[in-house]
Structures are given as structure tokens and as C-alpha cells.
Symmetry: C2
Subunit: 396 residues, 2 copies
DNA sequence: GTCTCTTTGTCCTGTGAGTGGAAAAAGTAG
DNA sequence: CTACTTTTTCCACTCACAGGACAAAGAGAC
């Protein structure tokens, strides 16, 4: 199939496309119920969309008591690529235009190997997905990277954990390689968009999405739109001070949240505890694997290990402390906790909740759910697909 | 003059009104340069605005090298009332439709006396401004109150320092009394709007406006619009923990920012210091006035009193600490410091700057001005006028 | 099966908003 | 006084759109 290059010609068409994306196949009549257009106008716009090939006819719909209507749907051949580059692994997924995941693969990888090496791997993974028959090509791709991004240009700026990526024209380069439009954003923002599109945040306009992975970040959604800040570094909460005169952090300060709780910090603390003989469980895992990660801590905690539980609880307290401040400031309608460390699950969540509900004022917390993300590792790639579809489904 | 009741009939008219508000009198041709409308269309919309009386002809403009054009301006008889209710005083001002302050009075008053008593005083002050010939009536009023507000209805919700105001229909009641449309908002949000309209934040889309008065609050502006949060309590940073296990706060927690630094806390600390004989300057002021306020501390600091300077510096450190966290989170393009305590001036500002620049990451602080508000006590009332004009100048 | 009613889809015309050219009006510069 | 600008008004033409009329297609009653 020839790749689609068309874009909606006006706001009406854009609206119809998003309705079809979020609501699946629809009859013309059903579409008419959802938009405020005359039948004639609607027919014209739908015809134009059919001409572009973005949308295709799809048989007859069930009768609603009279003549059956012809269904309309987004071209089922459209394919979006969602890429979520984490600090230590990459997720790549293919979706259709309705953002349903058709295939998803994950591979370990160190982002510090630099953009060239990483892209090579990403392209190989994309090729693998293609080879398995899920796609013949891509109509657009969304890329998440673990650091701040100058959004309009799709270029990482001063990313602390991605040496060698600073200023690299990710959008430009991948657009060349993939031969399709590309949008780049911070991985945390994409997770937020994912949870908003298909997860727990579907109905909330203002919410926070805290991602605890190798580092800690926070996606901010205001009025349904991701807020990125003046220089694209909004949500960078890992270096907020959680403990006065606390642990030294890579950033040069002391007591940063990230220095006290994150995938990396947790691994370090667990190793230390194991070496000091505080936990037999952790020590045995250390010996078996030759090293500990957050996953080991999660497993130990699940097995009832007191030391592991303590580590999680303490980290949750620090995180909750910081989130409490953000809740007072931002007054969100929902807080989503996600990221690789969600395996820590309810122990972590309970600690965070305790802190937030205790420290923030009732007006802000009164009706504030604090929940785990619903999509797990899929959130990032779904958000990435959503990012590029938002771009392509907006008037040129 | 009969009060205006008209509203713009469409977005074009609304746009023209704001251009005239922010740019003063303009010729049709100049307006045409700023909006994307054909001459004919522009003429039609201008004529309609003239019909409503919101806009009047205003003689001939200077020639730009050809025929002189007829000037158009907002009706010079329009009057807005800006009311800023603080914890301990009230500001009331009259502006014209271009939001120029025509008269401004301030009176001490305790907000805890309740809405009825306060409104009596506000109405008296408004009457005084009328009596001095500045206005024959008001076309709209903006009201700022020191606590969270359910914005659409204009009703305070659970305001900590305003017992008796919870649920009081401020908008409704004042609209009745004044006989004009009224909008109500948090005083901090209005200060932010004031600085945005006529102060230091004119060109910035995303900024924070920290008001240090009897309490501490923060106005949040996202994309040029005030962000109020899910329940209207966004920016309530006074109860963010600044000192672990610090001073007990009225809210029931310990170590809240407001417990360590605010007008009230400063007065208390200064009194304590004076009584302990730490500062002759403060002690003498205590004796003279029978009590100390933030103003006394400011004066003592200006006179070089070391204890006063220390108090300010320490407070600034705590405030800066909290702001540093907000800067990391929000990545604003500007931070404005304002409120009654601005008399503390550059000592305070220096302490805040030091903390923020040290604690937040360079990407967020690199190009981040932290400045004092430009409008002082006028910010609130100008913001209030701006609030109601935004409301009245938007399509009905 | 047949008849009637409902829903959907298409066609078509009237309307009204808006564009842009042309010319008139009002100045400036020399 | 003349030539050139800028502003404003006027007007005819275009074009998008709404909404009625009608045809197509099915459901349900009898």
C-alpha cells in the first residue's frame, strides 16, 4: 500500500478523524449526531476524507429502525510506530490508526550508547515488526526519550542521563530513516498521553502522571493538553529536594528525590542492605544474579522480606512528600503513578497516599484519586502513537 | 450615562475590543493591519460595535501619508470597579475600559468580620469613588478574595483565613448590590493577571506569581491563561512543607512554608526577637507601636538591623526552597514576587534567587528572571478590572 | 406478502456572508 | 495646482452552507 501523506484540510475534518480514531467505525448518521454540521456539509467533508484515502467505507451498519447506513472508518491499512526509549530498554510498537496495538516488542538497551547506536536498534526492531506482517510501512512515528526535548524541533536539550544526545536532531533523522512524519517528546509526557488516551485518565482534564523508572519524572496535563514548560523541562521533579542535606546527587546538590528513590537508588540501597547482611532474601538474589535491580526488590517485597518493604516504604514516603507539594500547587484531578517500578505496587502506592493525604489540604485532596497506571509498559508507546496521530490529524 | 449591557456578538468583535483595550484608540486601518479580516467585514463589525455603544468614534487620526483616518476607541464613559480584599485591608479602584486606573483607595479591614460587613465597606468605598466624580456607575466589577474560589459561580470554598465566607455567593450578592456583572477570583490570581496586563509579565506566556502577604500564595499562568486547578485551589503553596518537623501550623501539620515565613509569621518572630532582647531596633518599635508587623521588620532591615535582616534572609531561604521545587516542576519563563511584604525588597529577593539558582537545574533556571512585581498594591485591582473586562469582552 | 412508517442518503435551490475591485474622498509632497 | 497615497465606501460576484424535497432501504404490523 502506498503510504498516506494527506492531512485534514480543515478543523471539521480533523474533528471527524479524531471521532473515528477514538470511537472506531461510525456511520455517517452517527457522526452527524456528534458534530454540529448540516447533513450536506457533513457529506461533503466525509467525501473529501474518502478522497484522501485517510478514511474508507466499511460496509453497512446495523439498522437503527430504518434504512441501514454505510459505515465509515479510518483506513485500516494505516500504521503508526510508537517508540519509547527508556534509560535501559526500548519499547517499539505498531498500531493502526485507531491506536490499537498490533505488535509490541521490548529489548534491553543502554541509552548512553548514543543516538546512532540506539536508532540502529530501533530501526531493526521496526523492521522486525514489519517482517512479521504487521505493517508494510509507517504513516507516522512518535518517539519518547528519557530527557527534556525542545518540542517543536524534536531535539533533546541538555539531557542529564543521555550524554551524546544533546542537540541531536532526532525528529529530522528518524523522519529521514523511516520516511514518514515523526514527533518527539519526553517519555513521561508520552506516558501521560497514553494513560489519557486509553488508561485511567480518560475523563480527567488536569492531572499528573508520575513515572518512577531509572529516574523520576512527572507528566503534566492541563486542560487535556500536555504542558511542557518554557524550555521543555517541565515535570523534571527528580531533582526537587526531598531530604535537606540528604544524599549527594549526580546533579551536584544533596537530597534530591532521585538520589533517595528511583530505580537506580533502589538498586543501590538494596545491594548495600544485602551486603550488610540485613536481608537474607536480597543477599541470595544478589549472589544468584550478580547484582540487584528494582525488580529484585519488588520480588523480595512480594515474598514478604521486611528490608525490601522498608526500602519501598521509605522511598514512597519521600516521593509522597514531593507529590504532596505538587498537589497543593497544582490541584490536579488525578495522580497516576507509573513506570518500571510499578511492580512495587501497592506498598509504594500506600506510602505515597499516606503522605499526600496527610500533608495536602483537604480541598485539594478531598476528591483526589491516586492510582497506579493501567497500561504498564504499553503506556509509553500508546502515548507515542497518540502524539503522532494528534499531529497528523490536525489541519496542515 | 446609561450603563452598557452589550457584549460582543462574535469572536471578531471580541478580538477588536481587546485590541482597543490593550492598544488604546486605533484607526480602522490600523485595526485592519492587526486582524485578518477583509476591509468590508471589518467595517461591518466596527459598525456593529458602534451601534452597541461599547465603542465610539474619536475624531481623526494623524495621516500616514494619505487621507486621515477616523479613530475608534472604547467608550470613554465605561467604568470598571476593581476590588482586592486582603486579609487585613481592602483596595478599591476605578478604571476606564482601557484599564487605566482613575482612582484608587485603600482601607484597613479585617476579612474575618465576614462578608456582610466587608461588602458594606466595599460599597461605601465604591460610593466614595463615585462621589468624587470618577464614575456615575459601573459596567462591571472584579473582586479578589484571599482564599480559594469556585470560579464559575464566584463562591469561596473552604477558605482557611476567611471564616464565615465559605459558600457565600459573593458574585451573586455583589452583582445585585452594584447592579452590574461581577467576577470573583483568588487575590493571587488577580495579582498575576495584573502583572500580566500592565506589569513585568506582559510578554510571558507561562509564569508564576508568588504573593507573600499575611499568607503565601502563587498565581499560575499557563499559555497566558490563569490556571485554577480542579477545585480552584491551585497555587495554594502556603502549606507545602518547607521544614521537616518544623513549626506547627494552623492547618494541623508542621513545617508549612506559611508557618515559617509570611506576614503573620514574620511579625511573630520579630516580636519574639524583640522580647528576647536580640534587637534594640525592633524592641523600641515594639514599645512605640505596641506591636510589630512586617512593615516594622522592613523598616528595621532598611536601618541595617542585623536581626531583622536575618529574619528576612531565613524566610527568603525557605521561600526560595519551595519556589525552587516549583520551578523544577513547572519550568516557568518568569517568577514574580509580590505582595505586602515586597517592602522587604532586595534582601528577600536575593535570598530567594540564591536558593532557586542553586537548587534547580540549569535548563530550568538558565534564562529565568526572578523579579519583584512592578505594580505593588495596584496589581490586584488592575487584575480585577482585567478579569471582568475579559469576561465582558468575550462573546456572550 | 403487503402496507406504512422510520431512517438514511442525495440532490438542489435559496440565502446570506464575505471577498476584492473600483471609485470616491481626503490628504501629502512638490 | 498636479501627481501620488491612503482611507473609506460601494457594489457586484462568489461560494459555502442550510435545509427542504425526494429517493432508497429497511423495520414492523397485520
Amino acid at each position: 500500500m502506498r503510504r498516506m501523506t494527506a492531512r485534514p484540510g480543515n478543523a471539521h475534518q480533523a474533528r471527524l478523524l479524531t471521532l473515528l480514531r477514538d470511537g472506531g467505525p461510525n456511520s455517517r448518521a452517527q457522526l452527524g449526531d456528534q458534530v454540529d454540521l448540516s447533513r450536506s456539509k457533513l457529506a461533503v467533508e466525509v467525501d473529501r476524507l474518502l478522497e484522501t484515502g485517510l478514511v474508507v467505507a466499511d460496509g453497512l451498519a446495523a439498522s437503527r429502525g430504518g434504512r441501514r447506513s454505510h459505515n465509515i472508518r479510518l483506513n485500516p491499512g494505516l500504521r503508526f510506530l510508537g517508540v519509547d526509549i527508556g534509560a535501559t530498554s526500548v519499547d517499539v510498537a505498531v498500531t493502526n490508526a485507531e491506536l490499537e496495538t498490533l505488535g509490541h516488542i521490548n529489548q534491553p538497551m543502554d541509552v548512553r550508547e548514543g543516538p546512532v547506536a540506539v536508532f540502529e536498534q530501533v530501526l531493526a526492531m521496526a523492521a522486525k515488526l514489519k517482517a512479521s506482517g504487521l505493517a508494510e510501512g509507517f504513516d507516522g512515528a512518535g518517539i519518547g526519550v528519557p530527557g527534556p526535548v525542545r518540542f517543536p524541533e524534536g531535539i533533546p536539550v541538555a539531557p542529564p542521563i543521555m550524554p551524546g544526545w544533546d542537540g541531536f536532531p532526532v525528529r529530522e533523522a528518524l523522519s529521514q530513516e523511516l520516511g514518514c512524519p515523526v514527533m518527539v517528546d519526553n517519555d513521561v509526557n508520552l506516558m501521560a498521553m497514553g494513560e489519557q488516551h486509553a488508561g485511567v485518565a480518560r475523563t480527567v482534564a488536569d492531572f499528573l502522571c508520575v513515572k518512577i523508572g531509572t529516574g523520576i519524572g512527572c507528566g503534566i496535563v492541563v486542560g487535556g493538553e500536555v504542558y511542557r514548560g518554557t524550555t521543555g523541562s517541565a515535570g523534571d521533579i527528580g531533582h526537587i529536594q526531598a531530604v535537606p542535606d540528604g544524599r549527594p546527587c549526580a546533579c551536584g546538590n544533596r537530597g534530591c528525590l532521585e538520589a533517595h528513590f528511583s530505580g537506580a537508588a533502589l538498586a543501590r540501597d538494596a545491594t548495600e542492605a544485602a551486603q550488610q547482611g540485613l536481608s537474607a532474601e536480597l543477599a541470595s538474589r544478589l549472589e544468584t544474579n550478580g547484582g540487584l535491580t528494582a525488580v529484585d526488590v519488588a520480588a523480595a517485597a512480594a515474598a514478604g522480606d521486611a528490608t525490601a518493604l522498608d526500602l519501598i516504604r521509605e522511598g514512597g514516603n519521600h516521593t509522597g512528600q514531593v507529590i504532596a507539594g505538587l498537589v497543593s500547587f497544582f490541584n490536579p484531578g488525578l495522580v497516576v503513578i507509573g513506570g518500571g517500578v510499578t511492580g512495587l505496587g501497592h506498598t509504594l502506592l500506600a506510602a505515597i497516599r499516606t503522605q499526600v493525604y496527610r500533608q495536602s489540604l483537604p480541598l485539594a485532596t478531598g476528591n483526589l484519586p491516586i492510582v497506579l497506571g493501567e497500561l504498564g509498559p504499553a503506556a509509553g508507546v500508546i502515548g507515542a502513537a497518540r502524539l503522532i496521530s494528534d499531529h497528523l490529524f490536525s489541519p496542515a
